[in-house]
């Protein structure tokens, strides 16, 4: 942007480069710049002695200060664990039903529970806890519970699991394979009856004969009105929610072959604080009782 060539030729001379009549002056660098450069080199040398720096065959030189990013992360994790220790102790000591009334504790448990859920539970119940429809992985968001939806029941289910062989206190029940007990016609009548008590379209004649079959074979677990029994994990057959589907094919299959799921007991794998956190989280998903 020079307005006109300098009045006197610059003492510094030029580099000899020229573009469109613009010459490049050969100005010297300021000396302080040189000293700054040397200072940076000195800093780098000191740094490489104090901190991990020079690559060796198996690892870098550790540095005199013993700093490592792994160590820093470990210390940070430990700091969080220490900071959370009191509230985790409080969580384990609290009465399960009272956690919801303690906002701080409830918030902590819900957040921890969400992350534990995503790690351990999402494989079957889905990351959104909606289960897998028609495949027998229960939806945890709705208001229908096989083994009870209050916080204590949920806690028991998570702790001991269902129908597993690893825990001694696992919840247990098994539906018989009615295909070995009843004829195909009888099962068809039973299917129509179950559809009738759940308010779905059905063949009234078949359903009427199914009623007697139901009374003889099913009421022990599902109850006279078909409302289920949570002590036995027997589903309510009158509502809109079906673990394996409520259409004729699915019901026929379920009654003929019997279907049930298995859940691990989490007590040996998760700490009590984590189990309680998941219980609080699941209870707060919208269906908790």
């Amino acid at each position: 942007m020079s307005r006109r060539p300098a009045q006197k030729p610059p003492e510094v001379g030029t580099t000899g480069h020229q573009w469109d009549g613009i010459e490049e002056l050969n100005n010297p660098l300021p000396r302080w710049w040189l000293w700054t450069f040397y200072a940076c080199i000195a800093f780098a040398l000191v740094y490489s002695v104090l901190y991990p720096a020079w690559p060796m065959i198996s690892r870098a030189t550790p540095g005199l200060l013993g700093y490592s990013t792994r160590g820093a992360v470990a210390a940070e994790i430990q700091a969080f664990a220490d900071a959370n220790a009191p509230i985790r102790a409080q969580l384990v000591a609290a009465d399960l039903s009272e956690i919801a009334d303690k906002p701080k504790l409830n918030e902590y448990a819900t957040n921890v529970g969400a992350s534990v859920f995503r790690t351990w539970c999402a494989q079957c119940h889905g990351s959104g806890a909606a289960g897998v429809q028609a495949a027998g992985y229960p939806n945890l968001l709705d208001d229908d519970w096989l083994w009870g939806g209050d916080i204590a029941s949920i806690h028991t289910t998570i702790t001991n699991g269902i129908r597993n062989t690893t825990g001694s206190d696992a919840r247990y029940s098994e539906m018989p394979k009615f295909g070995e007990i009843l004829t195909g016609d009888e099962i068809a009548q039973l299917v129509q009856y179950v559809r009738s008590i759940s308010g779905q379209s059905n063949d009234a004649v078949l359903a009427a004969s199914g009623a007697a079959l139901f009374a003889d074979n099913c009421v022990a677990c599902h109850g006279e009105a078909g409302l289920g029994n949570r002590d036995l994990g027997a589903p309510n057959l009158t509502d809109a929610i079906w673990l394996y589907g409520g259409d004729v094919t699915a019901l026929t299959h379920t009654i003929t072959y019997a279907r049930f799921g298995v859940m691990p007991n989490w007590s040996p794998r998760l700490s009590e604080a984590d189990i309680r956190s998941v219980a609080v989280y699941v209870h707060g998903l919208g269906g908790g009782e």
């Binding site: 942007m1 060539p5 001379g13 300021p30 710049w33 889905g126 208001d143 809109a240 707060g284 919208g286």
Partner: protein, 472 residues
């Protein structure tokens, strides 16, 4: 072009010390006023108080790093409103473009902290050691008691200014009176001490010793500015066609320049503006004042060195007068910059007016989209983030409006009210249920509006969202 050198030139050069002479004049006076104003704003602002009611800080300008809030008089900005800061930065950028394309390096010459503090340091230097000639003599003379005393006095004064500068900075990020008490009683946070120490060091070194070196070698702005100037940009220039050949006023055929060197002696970057426009010139206009003074003494019109545009040179060489300043300034480029600048500004002001002291952000939960309940009704779930910008806790009632019979309930609450603590946010999960067999339960999408109402003063805001039914 390179001349065959007999001895290679040194690659490095020591800084040439510069001893700017005192100057009086219109631009110097303007610069004193700007210095007083900018330094005054900088040092005083953290001490201004502003009442925001209970539980909120009463500091007018406060960057609350811990609480992640920015307070500016009646304005309070939360982290999610960072677009205000981004907008201000954009305005600052556009403003600089505007001023540079219109008036060259006017920022450098008048308002840049490097210039303002260097000016202040030179002022102190002049008080202690005298004007240019006295300082030159002191510089050349060998060390003795008088020199040591003057240097010590000057450096002490600089250091005090530097400490005050670094000290003022930290008051912007903490309650100023409280922090001052902590500093005096030596109980302040180490970060405060480190910040003060760092800024004291940079102020002392940059203002006292580096000065023009920062402008010439360290600052990126001069490089950027060169690209923003054009032939209509008004900048400080020497009327060579009037001044040359320079020499003696008594010689009749010489120009107006008497080679008194006043312009060079007052220049804070130590250059000769008569060599033409150059990188080191920060357009501080002090050489204009100096030359005007000389012209007055020899009875010639002022303005041998003056604010000029490149196009003026062509005009004046052909004998026509300089173009009017406003004609240089008003051109498509500056008008565009002004328009953009104002558009961002108007947008920010509008956003400020629309800012509410309740905040509502609705996140519909989409995993899963809907849940079928045991009675066949359909439920959707939403996470509501509620902001309470008041200092005291507020109770909000959450409700919905829709042309469908949708029902709303809150997770963990029997009632439809939720209390948000003062100056905080709360996330509340909300369920909306469409009865079994209803239109909304079957339809794909139903519009709904969620309302949040402050039960105390009936302020309310809303957000629109969608209810998803089974869609069959």
């Amino acid at each position: 072009m390179s001349s065959p050198d007999t001895h290679p030139p040194s690659l490095y050069a020591a800084r040439e010390p510069i001893f700017p002479r005192r100057v009086k004049g219109w631009f110097r006076t303007l610069k004193w006023w700007i210095m007083g104003l900018t330094l005054g704003i900088y040092y005083i602002t953290p001490w201004l108080r502003w009442d925001r009611g209970p539980n909120l800080p009463d500091q007018a300008v406060l960057i609350d790093l811990g609480g992640r809030r920015f307070f500016f008089f009646m304005i309070e900005i939360w982290p999610h409103e960072f677009y205000f800061v981004a907008g201000l930065l954009i305005m600052a950028g556009l403003g600089l473009f505007l001023f540079t394309s219109a008036l060259g390096r006017v920022w450098c010459g008048y308002a840049c902290p490097q210039t303002v503090w260097t000016d202040l340091f030179i002022l102190v230097e002049r008080w202690v050691e005298g004007d240019r000639n006295a300082r030159l003599r002191l510089h050349r003379q060998s060390w003795n008691w008088a020199k040591a005393r003057k240097r010590a006095l000057k450096w002490t004064a600089w250091l005090l200014i530097a400490v005050a500068t670094g000290g003022a900075w930290v008051f912007y990020v903490a309650d100023a009176p409280g922090l001052l008490r902590d500093l005096v009683t030596l109980q302040a946070h180490p970060a405060a001490w480190l910040t003060i120490a760092g800024l004291t060091a940079t102020t002392f070194v940059f203002g006292g010793f580096m000065r023009e070196q920062i402008c010439i070698y360290a600052c990126p702005w001069p490089r950027i500015q060169a690209a923003m100037m054009d032939e209509d940009t008004i900048t400080v220039a020497y009327r060579e066609w009037r001044g040359e050949p320079r020499g003696n006023a008594s010689v009749t055929d010489s120009g107006d320049c008497i080679d008194c060197m006043a312009c060079v002696n007052v220049c804070p970057t130590g250059i000769d503006i008569r060599d033409g426009q150059q990188l080191a010139c920060i357009t501080c206009a002090l050489c204009i004042d100096a030359c005007d003074d000389t012209m007055a003494k020899i009875g010639k019109p002022r303005g041998l060195i003056d604010y000029l545009a490149l196009t003026d040179e062509v005009l004046e060489r052909s004998g026509s007068p300089q173009r009017a300043i406003w004609k240089h300034i008003l051109r498509p480029r500056t008008i565009l910059y002004t328009a953009l600048w104002s558009a961002v500004g108007v947008g920010l002001v509008l956003a400020l007016f629309l800012q509410s002291d309740i905040g509502l952000h609705v996140t519909p939960l989409r995993n899963p989209i809907l849940v079928t309940l045991s009675d066949g009704s359909i439920r959707n779930t939403y996470d509501l983030r509620l902001l309470n910008k008041h200092g005291e806790p507020r109770t909000f009632r959450i409700s919905l409006t829709s042309d469908q019979p949708l029902e709303l309930s809150l997770e963990g609450h029997v009632s439809q009210t939720v209390t948000v603590p003062g100056n905080a946010t709360t996330t509340q999960r909300v369920y909306v249920v469409a009865p079994s067999g209803s239109e909304a339960a079957g339809k794909d999408r139903t519009d709904l509006r969620l309302w949040v109402e402050d039960l105390g003063n009936n302020d309310r805001i809303h957000a629109d969202t969608i209810f998803n039914g089974k869609g069959d």
